[in-house]
């Protein structure tokens, strides 16, 4: 080995990886990440997997532990077909917001790709998960894996006890409401609050005993008085209108049995766990891409990777941040990697070498040279919408040739409402930011009432914005699912505010 002619300072010189080179590379990367960029990360658990295992992980939200459901099998079937036909490569990496932060490396990757993926996932995403306010407040990195393990086991038990169909009906219906199953404004109770965990353990234990004896002899077992009282107290605490449909149904449904409520709660918790990711695609990917780009270049500058390696890296990197234009057949919206990376590189530029325009738009950061602090502050305290509103610079809008199109369904023409010029910058920026506001993007549906002692009809209201009604194709199907959970009639009105 020593006889190889490679320069000794390279952390790897071969495109094949082994655990020795992985170790050396990880050490070099973390030196840059922790001592230069000063990232703050969870401990890393980096797992090497095969491509089949990657496909497996893919189809269940990338989670190593997920309960069983046919929809994951469907996604698996599609991903597999796409992969085998070569329409779609596998993602280079999957990373999980957990403590320790689990990232997957595929064994097929070259050593350069492994370095890229480690920098990207185990440091970029990892830092973002640990520091971004949405993740800090709304998800529980310590509790998620134990919770999913509990959920998987619980659902399997329910299937044994009550049959596939029964369980599937509840899960199908709950999945239909996942988008309406999150708390957007008030903070949800954390999974790992001490009493919550204790409750969970108690519940699991309770099931342990009741599953075996009590429930077998009493298949229609109802909650005991104490539990019922507790639940009804929670229902009384709900202030209408309630935005979290799954929460309301779980607590107030007149027909669900205790185990069914638990299933609804599992789906709701999973949905809530992923909610921050939906709001931070641009930032999260931007952060990870910025970090891997910086680290790989730094490795090269320090003479720790070879010229061939940096070329391979740049090739992958440029395809990751490729943004097709709107009239390109490959266009399918704005690439979050491209936008996020461009904006973060731009912040660095503004801090280090601002133009007059930048001083005018970003007086507080232009020329300070403190780009590390500015970026870390952004990563910690913004989500996509607010980040774009705050930091999208005229230069980026010009580089990407951004333009806004106003479309009123009633008219035969669309209108270009703003382009990347002096008059349009602010408008384009606010429109682009709004595209990442889930409150606008997703229908805002709330529970407005349910007379639990009377007709028990569940009243829902869609707050229609700008005349954007629900699509009929799925509306009725979803309502049917809600009726499954509610057990009585469900009425949905669409109101323009």
């Amino acid at each position: 080995m020593e006889a190889v002619a490679a320069k000794p300072e390279f952390v790897f010189s071969d495109s094949d990886w082994n655990f020795e080179t992985l170790d050396r590379t990880l050490e070099a990367i973390s030196d840059i990440a922790l001592n230069d960029l000063k990232l703050d990360i969870y401990p890393n658990q980096i797992e090497i997997i095969s491509s089949e295992q990657m496909l497996d992980a893919y189809s269940s939200h990338g989670m190593p532990l997920m309960y069983n459901h046919w929809s994951f099998g469907k996604h698996f079937a599609r991903d597999q077909a796409m992969y085998q036909k070569g329409y779609q490569g596998l993602a280079y990496e999957i990373v999980i917001n957990s403590n320790p932060c689990i990232a997957y490396l595929m064994e097929e990757n070259s050593m350069t790709m492994q370095a890229l993926v480690m920098a990207h996932a185990s440091f970029g995403h990892n830092h973002f998960f640990k520091n971004n306010y949405l993740f800090r407040q709304w998800t529980d990195a310590d509790g998620i894996l134990p919770y999913l393990a509990f959920a998987k086991k619980y659902i399997t038990k329910c299937e044994d006890e009550y049959g596939f169909e029964e369980v599937e009906a509840i899960l199908d219906a709950s999945h239909a409401l996942m988008d309406q199953g999150v708390f957007r404004y008030n903070r949800p109770p954390r999974l790992s609050d001490a009493d919550r965990l204790a409750k969970l353990a108690a519940r699991a234990k309770h099931e342990e005993t009741t599953f075996n004896d009590l429930w077998r002899t009493l298949p229609t077992v109802e909650e005991d008085d104490e539990e019922k009282e507790e639940r009804q107290a929670e229902v009384r605490d709900i202030k209408l209108p309630e935005e979290n449909l799954l929460y309301f149904i779980e607590k107030a449904s007149p027909v669900l049995r205790p185990w069914q409520r638990e299933l609804v709660r599992i789906v709701r918790n999973v949905s809530q766990y992923f909610y921050p990711q939906k709001q931070t695609k641009v930032m999260n990917e931007g952060c990870a891409t910025f970090v891997h780009h910086y680290i790989m270049n730094e490795l090269y500058d320090r003479g720790q990777i070879s010229e061939g390696s940096i070329m391979e890296f740049l090739h992958s990197h440029s395809s990751v941040v490729f943004q097709p234009e709107f009239d390109d057949p490959r266009y399918s919206g704005i690439n979050p990697y491209a936008l996020g990376f461009a904006m973060m590189e731009d912040i660095k530029r503004i801090c280090e070498a601002p133009e007059d325009e930048d001083r005018e738009w970003f007086p507080e950061i232009a020329g300070t040279g403190e780009w590390r602090e500015v970026l870390k502050n952004a990563w910690a305290n913004y989500r996509d919408e607010s980040f774009i509103l705050q930091y999208l610079s005229p230069k980026i809008m010009r580089d990407l040739h951004l333009f806004a199109i106003a479309d009123n369904a009633k008219e035969s023409h669309v209108e270009v409402s703003a382009i990347h010029d002096e008059r349009g910058y602010r408008h384009v920026r606010s429109r682009l930011a709004a595209m990442y506001d889930l409150g606008i993007h997703e229908p805002n549906i709330q529970v407005t009432g349910a007379d639990l002692d009377g007709d028990r009809i569940l009243h829902l209201r869609h707050e229609v914005q700008q005349g954007r009604l629900l699509t009929d194709k799925t509306k009725d199907d979803v309502l049917t699912h809600i009726e499954t959970l509610w057990g009585h009639e469900v009425k949905l009105e669409e109101l323009s505010s």
């Binding site: 090497i48 497996d56 929809s71």
Partner: protein
């Protein structure tokens, strides 16, 4: 130091999603079946037992969510890549469905009209393909097995050939016997002998020493005697591995493909026949452990040929169908005794035969073929125009009419007509459908 570590998970079981996949297949069963049947009709038979790309209506496995209707209300969207637009430009919307450069809706979101595409494995495909199909008269004779024998280990015996000697058992027995009979060990004797040699080397031994020498010599003699009647290995110790012949039951079928290859059977007709044979072969293969295929082609005389010749070479001559039956019976008597084999016969023809021959065919079927056959399928290949002409089951070419008359007597006889590839699978299903009624 980073708080990081690697874990090699490659050895972990893969296929974690298989359970979910099964659930999905079960869920979409009906749609998948439709798609499988549809895809079969136009597919070349060579690919039949490969995995199949399947496309089912996404509605069956939709995961509906509330969505905003893109065709209602107002919205403003930002796109990259402006080239010539200025603020205030108005652009005519493309005709309905064009979408103003908006990203395409993912097909799995549940609200797309698109089909859902994925690939079935070969096993999944064939399972669905043959679902609901049952071999006719399977009960009656399929339990017939070939009594072939295989040698199986059956413990140890005291006799056998040296090659089968079981060394471990033999040595173990010998060791036990040696212990029981107190056979003096070589080591013990060597010790005594050494002592003896030592004593003998003394030039002038004392009386005591002489006595010891005598004593040792006596002991050695006794030991030698003992060793002679308690040998290291006695024939009694030897054991041999025993093997016993055991009957192995295998179910086996032979499939006779009879085809008219005279001039009137063109490429199209042969192709159709081939598809039918292939289906039958695949089907049998899933039901029997062993399936032999015999190809018999005929014009005015019949011969057994290989598959290549059967399907691809041409011959000219008249048409005498009964020659094929003769040949088939000959081969059957020669190699496939009815007591050991399930016999399936598939005959394809365009329906023409020498006048008077149809009658002879019927006789042969009645007397010799049907009694030994598990199933006999006759398919008549027509062109589409003829199929219309012969829409009445009773009219038809000579062979058809002759078969019609005797068919009712034999529930395991089926005849049918096909004209296009799309006819084959329905016909096949009809022939083998689980609750098959007598073909109308």
């Amino acid at each position: 130091m980073t708080p990081s570590h690697f874990i090699d998970r490659r050895k972990n079981p893969k296929g974690k999603s298989l359970g979910n996949r099964q659930r999905f297949l079960k869920r979409a069963r009906a749609q998948i079946k439709d798609a499988v049947n549809k895809s079969l009709r136009d597919r070349s038979m060579k690919e039949i037992d490969k995995g199949e790309k399947i496309s089912i209506p996404s509605k069956s496995t939709a995961e509906p969510r509330f969505r905003l209707n893109p065709e209602k209300g107002e919205r403003e969207v930002v796109h990259p890549g402006n080239k010539e637009f200025g603020q205030g430009d108005r652009i005519k919307k493309p005709p309905k469905g064009g979408g103003k450069g908006k990203g395409k809706e993912a097909s799995d979101s549940g609200d797309g009209e698109d089909n859902f595409q994925f690939t079935l494995t070969q096993d999944e495909f064939l399972d669905i393909f043959f679902e609901d199909l049952e071999l006719p008269n399977l009960v009656k004779r399929s339990l017939k097995e070939i009594k072939s024998t295989a040698w199986k280990r059956a413990g140890v015996t005291v006799s056998g050939s040296p090659t089968n000697m079981n060394l471990i058992r033999t040595m173990r027995n010998a060791h036990g016997r040696r212990l029981a009979l107190r056979r003096p060990s070589t080591r013990e004797m060597n010790e005594l002998k050494e002592r003896l040699f030592a004593l003998e080397r003394i030039a002038q031994p004392g009386a005591e020493q002489i006595a010891e020498i005598k004593d040792i010599i006596a002991k050695l003699e006794e030991m030698d005697a003992r060793r002679r009647w308690a040998p290291f290995i006695d024939p009694l110790d030897v054991r041999y591995n025993a093997f016993e012949p055991t009957p192995v039951e295998t179910t086996a079928a032979v499939m006779f493909c009879l085809m008219d290859v005279s001039g009137s059977m063109g490429e199209r007709e042969k192709d159709l026949a081939k598809r039918f044979y292939m289906l039958l072969y695949l089907f049998l293969k899933r039901r029997y452990e062993k399936v032999d295929v015999v190809f018999i082609r005929h014009t005015h005389h019949a011969e057994e040929v290989d598959e290549e010749t059967f399907f691809y070479s041409r011959q000219s001559g008249g048409t005498v169908v009964s020659t094929a039956l003769d040949k088939m019976l000959e081969v059957q008597k020669d190699r496939y005794s009815a007591s050991d084999w399930n016999i399936y016969v598939a005959q394809a023809s365009d329906g023409f035969t020498q006048s008077g021959d149809a009658k002879r065919c019927v006789e042969m079927l009645n007397e010799s073929v049907m009694p030994i056959s598990q199933y006999y399928a006759y398919i008549e290949i027509l062109d589409e125009r003829e199929l219309e002409v012969f829409s009445d089951a009773d009219s038809g070419a000579e062979l058809w009419r002759a078969y019609r008359t005797f068919a009712p007597a034999w529930p395991n006889f089926a005849q049918t007509r096909i004209a296009t590839p799309s006819d084959i699978f329905p016909v096949f299903r009809e022939l083998f459908a689980k609750d098959k009624r007598q073909a109308a």
